[in-house]
């Protein structure tokens, strides 16, 4: 089942890019705004890959997609909620029972990474050799392998 926007819940939110967030984020440009009714909708459901980008971003949680068969059975409804470091999934099984699970999408706070921190490659002298940035520290082995023939 491709994305379905609940028209009662959609507020045609205005994100930082002057349009609804689902329209902004859809990797296949499927989500569009119905100008007459001022609601977002999926203009080409058959092309939807159910990637959940819009579902996770929608501030009103107005977009519904079926759960993937590898983590919920057929007929279950799922709703992801964004948390600071991951996603909390609310699952509603077809017999009415509910289940909730959380998994992290990051182990350190956003913005805490310092680019190239601890890299030892010299920008001048190591440019000519075959090491990539960070190889000396992060490859995990003492010496970069080289082909035998």
């Amino acid at each position: 089942m491709p994305t379905y926007v609940d028209p009662n819940a959609c507020t045609a939110c205005q994100g930082e890019h002057q349009g609804p967030l689902c329209v902004y984020i859809c990797p296949n440009d499927l989500m569009v705004l119905n100008q007459d009714q001022n609601k977002g909708f999926n203009q080409e459901p058959e092309m939807c890959s159910e990637c959940y980008a819009c579902v996770k971003l929608c501030p009103e949680e107005a977009i519904h997609v079926r759960g993937y068969a590898d983590f919920v059975p057929m007929g279950a409804e799922v709703q992801p909620h964004r948390t600071e470091d991951g996603l909390r999934w609310d699952v509603r099984f077809r017999d009415g029972r509910t289940f909730e699970f959380t998994y992290p999408s990051r182990t350190r706070p956003a913005g805490s990474v310092v680019p190239y921190e601890g890299f030892t490659e010299d920008r001048q002298s190591d440019l000519k050799n075959q090491s990539l940035a960070g190889d000396a520290v992060w490859l995990g082995i003492a010496k970069l392998p080289t082909p035998n023939k």
Binding site: S49, C51, W89, R97, F99, R106, R108, P147
Partner: protein, 155 residues
């Protein structure tokens, strides 16, 4: 509908496409180029750019050279077989010897990776280059907490 506006941006290095490869190229070129201006262009949204953005939930290539699991030669052998002989062995070798660097860095930057008790990455068949597991793989098993009879009902 309004037409898009045209903006001209000067740069020293232009990277076309903001997927996994483009982001890696930007990271690498910025390190070595110092003050040169690196510009990456992407046709869609950078938060979800590239095919990788659609939620693969697995890293499909990891050598585990620090554990002695595979060598770049093993990887070349595997890829050449998989491609029925049609592969640039030098390029494949280069991917194989550098890929662990990228995976370790992704973990350092905050990507959760499922591990065994001894701290090694969890992978069902590491010697055959099967994916290492990210945390989402484990969620399926958590349904066992509901009870085995329930699982049978649902699936």
């Amino acid at each position: 509908m309004s037409l898009p506006t045209t903006e001209t941006i000067d740069c020293d290095i232009l990277i076309i496409g903001g997927g996994m490869s483009g982001c890696g190229a930007a990271f690498e070129s910025k390190y070595w180029s110092g003050d040169l201006k690196v510009v990456m262009v992407e046709k869609a949204v950078i938060e979800r750019s590239g095919a990788t953005g659609e939620g693969l939930s697995a890293i499909n290539c990891y050598m585990g050279q620090r554990n002695g699991w595979n060598t770049p030669e093993d990887f070349v052998h595997y890829v050449v077989n998989d491609m029925m002989g049609l592969a640039r062995e030098d390029l494949v070798y280069d991917v194989g010897r550098h890929v662990d660097n990228s995976v370790h860095l992704l973990e350092e930057w905050g990507l959760p990776i499922w591990k065994k008790d001894n701290g090694e990455y969890d992978s069902p068949l590491i010697s055959q280059h099967f994916p290492i597991k990210l945390c989402s793989f484990k969620t399926a098993n958590r349904f066992e907490s509901i009870g085995p009879e329930t699982s049978a009902d649902f699936f």
